[in-house]
Amino acid sequence: MTAHERTDVLVIGSGFGGAIPAYHLAAGGASVVVLERGPWLSADEFDHDFKFGSSSTRAFEFTMGEGMNVLGGNCVGGGSVVYFAAMPRAPRFVFERQGSLGRRMWPKSITREALDPWYDRVAQALPITQSTWDDVTYSGGVFAAACDHAGRTANPVAAAIDTDLCTNCNWMMSGCKFDAKRSLLLNYLPAAVDHGAQIRPLHEVQRIERSSEGAYLVHYTVVDPVDYRVQVDVGVIEAKIVVVAAGAAATPVILQRSEETLGAMPPAVGRYFSGNGERLNTAILNEDRVRDVLGLDRGDGLAYAANQIGRGPSAASWDRLDGSLPEFSRYSLEQLYFPPGFGTILAQAPDADGPSWFGPDKKEILRRWQSWLTIFIMSEDDNEGVFGPPPETGNADRISMQMLSRGNLRYEPTANTRHGWALADADIRDIMERDGLSRVLPWTNEVIGAYTVHPLASCRMGDDPETSALDDTNELRDHPGIFVTDGSAVPGALTVNPAFTIAAIAERAVPNIVRAAQARGVDVRYRGSLPPPARISRKAPVPLTGRDGQPVTVPSV
């Protein structure tokens, strides 16, 4: 057998699901290696730039599937680096959901009460702060005022953002240049490194194999720092415990590819994928009506015209987060900013003569882009996503050097999902078109299908082995020592932004992983400490090898 490295714990992926166990296991005394397929960028490398090759394409992944497209992070810190940092807890009723299973889909040991202490820990570690109306941006403000005008409520949304540092530049999808966003680069990851964990960027895990001693061999390729289609090296690391946290669009694919060497996977691996019932609507506001009907004024002669200003979602409507309503009719509506590049193609021109998402009418609404307001629906979808056979490498075939790939996820929304969307669309129309405030249309699903930034449930937890790949300790059924702690473990849609819940479940999983590690002879303890806050994100300490075999330190392109 070829020589390979050894570690106690190997973590695949460095988003919420990966960073949290990596920190605790390293702090508890285990040797930990984190393999992350994306680059390691710090604040000074996060660009305010749409140019191909800037951080907006280096740190980002857009995976096209059949009927579902997934956006996610592709960098050390994962989704926490590119996300909008809106951090609400999931409402109580979510944990009682049945979906179309006909019985509770969450493990019975998990309820909102049971998860609250774990949420508390994450809130302290990042930290997450309760927002006030002073923190609500113009776009959140317009949405809240429109909700109020329609007799609804609206809430400022808690966020993992230091508003004293935030410049409201709205470039947070390219990473935060001012370290105002409390991504994992400012807490769990640096603390893990301080406890000896190694984080290796540009290392893409391909498959897992069982060693003759009952440990695991994790096979990876090293990708070029500029052209992610090019592989510059391969390697294997042996580990006693493997934590798979590559995100809900990649975790099941790695496990599927490993079947040949690990043995059969539980039937739920790669099934029951949820897009968090997500959908977008674009309202094109009438500035005069915003002034006259809502009484809004920016103080500089403008009523709104502020699509570009802000920092992702700042206000949400929770009127339909009501546990007494039937399933598939509950959702939240959240104001959102989607930057150009992602945010415009699917927007439709109301009353278009010809095509609504391209052509002359589309150009007309683009002229009024600053008066757009994007409303985001997070509803109860039906876990209808299924992954096809894994591609040759990674979780998708790469199309461009960075950012764009084609995966094997198939998603056909059921009548249940479409019912929820229709209710939410109608609700948004009622709020946003009242008294001529705007014209609003949902983004067209006809072009590329649905779209999610919140992939979930592709390898979910549960009590029933037929419909859940993991038991309630996050351990992969029939494969002791392999844990899944990312969004794929969450059993279904959450009706709110999921990162806080993913993080809380990862915190909750840690004592279980520690016990399994101890049972495998690892000298590790669960200390229950929290990472100290860092003020600035650090640079990658690991030298990397590029296409020409020369060491590189992740250059700026």
Binding site: F50, G53, Y138, N155, A158, W318, P360, R398, V447
Partner: protein, 176 residues
């Protein structure tokens, strides 16, 4: 030229000069072509460059077929797609981009690059694009950065309560 005509169908613009055939001149102001659509399609980072010849060929074949179906007399001096009138380009694009068309994905990808060229100018740095009057970003009213090339908006909020919060909000500000 064919790809320019396709880009101009997705986000139309005014002719660059009176002899312009690729840009139909259907609307005022620079469109996707003037915004760098073809530059972006050709960029090595985009990954489309290798497929562009066959895409252009395919588009022309569809245009030839469309012309035959409608009995149109297409000017042989330019590629068939360019020879189509703007409304015919739109109709054909609608066919190709419709759900169920076997090549929908290809034409959507090309439309995505076109739109991205218009709304981001991703073939060049955004500050340069804005400084040089990039048609898409300018028409969208994308506000320029501060002198150091970064965006900051010190005024960002109406600064007052604008709705009653949900009655079942927890003291920490979460849904119950």
């Amino acid at each position: 030229m064919t790809l320019e005509a396709y880009a101009d169908t997705i986000i139309p613009g005014e002719k660059r000069d009176p002899t312009d055939r690729a840009v139909a001149g259907a609307v005022s102001g620079g469109g996707a072509v003037a915004s760098g659509a073809v530059e972006l399609m050709l960029s090595p980072e985009g990954g489309l460059a290798g497929t562009l010849d066959s895409l252009a060929e395919g588009l022309n074949e569809h245009a030839r077929d469309y012309g035959a179906r409608l009995g149109l007399d297409l000017d042989p001096a330019v590629p068939p797609f360019v020879a189509l009138a703007f409304t015919d380009r739109i109709t054909l694009a609608q066919e190709l981009l419709a759900p169920g068309h076997p090549e929908q994905e290809l034409w959507v990808a090309l439309a995505m690059f076109t739109t991205m060229a218009w709304d981001t100018g991703a073939h060049m740095s955004t500050t340069d694009a804005l400084a040089s009057g990039h048609p898409g970003l300018t028409t969208m009213g994308f506000m320029p950065p501060e002198p150091d090339g970064s965006w900051r908006f010190p005024r960002f909020s109406y600064g007052r309560a604008l709705a009653a919060t949900h009655p079942r909000t927890t003291p920490r500000g979460d849904p119950q």
